[in-house]
Symmetry: C2
Subunit: 116 residues, 2 copies
Amino acid sequence: MTTTPKSLADTTTFNPVKPLDAVHHVAISVRDIAEAVTWYTANFQCTIAYQDPTWAMLTFANMSLALVIPAEHPPHIAFSHPHAEKFGPLKAHRDGTRSTYISDPAGNPVEIMAMD
Amino acid sequence: MTTTPKSLADTTTFNPVKPLDAVHHVAISVRDIAEAVTWYTANFQCTIAYQDPTWAMLTFANMSLALVIPAEHPPHIAFSHPHAEKFGPLKAHRDGTRSTYISDPAGNPVEIMAMD
């Protein structure tokens, strides 16, 4: 006997009484991290939360922008989700966050982050 | 006699007493707008602000997520900026917003939106 996997939609369908989910960060591909950090911090009011040669995280008023070298980290969009564990096993990261990666129907990588 | 254009950085260099800039929306490529809207609204608490066959705009708690067909609209990140006009001539859109497109050093399209 096989069990039919529950669709993600079964557990997370939009409910108008719940608050909207938030985008935690977006990661875009750049060719050189230092060059990109220089450009974004010169042109926008933002602060550098983290930077190494393979990626950087910039803090904006409402979210963070990650700059990544595609060979090291995939470009993606990351949502904070109150039931992140329903999307897959959560992996703990060095900064204390926990998340899992899935793909949308077009194949875009989507990171689902726990809210703890 | 030629005049040297002022660099963007001259007018917008980070100033710690100014508030941080905000990301207005991020536009990501999908293969089918209706399929993507169904998936994102099923999996996240968000609302549909606009939808047609070539693009859609979803509202999240802290920003908007645009879903675009690459042939019609380029994927991009859009910042609200208090001096958007310094980045180039602003074009008025049907929804009343005004913006200009530039590219970061890696060639990523970046939309700069006026805050009016």
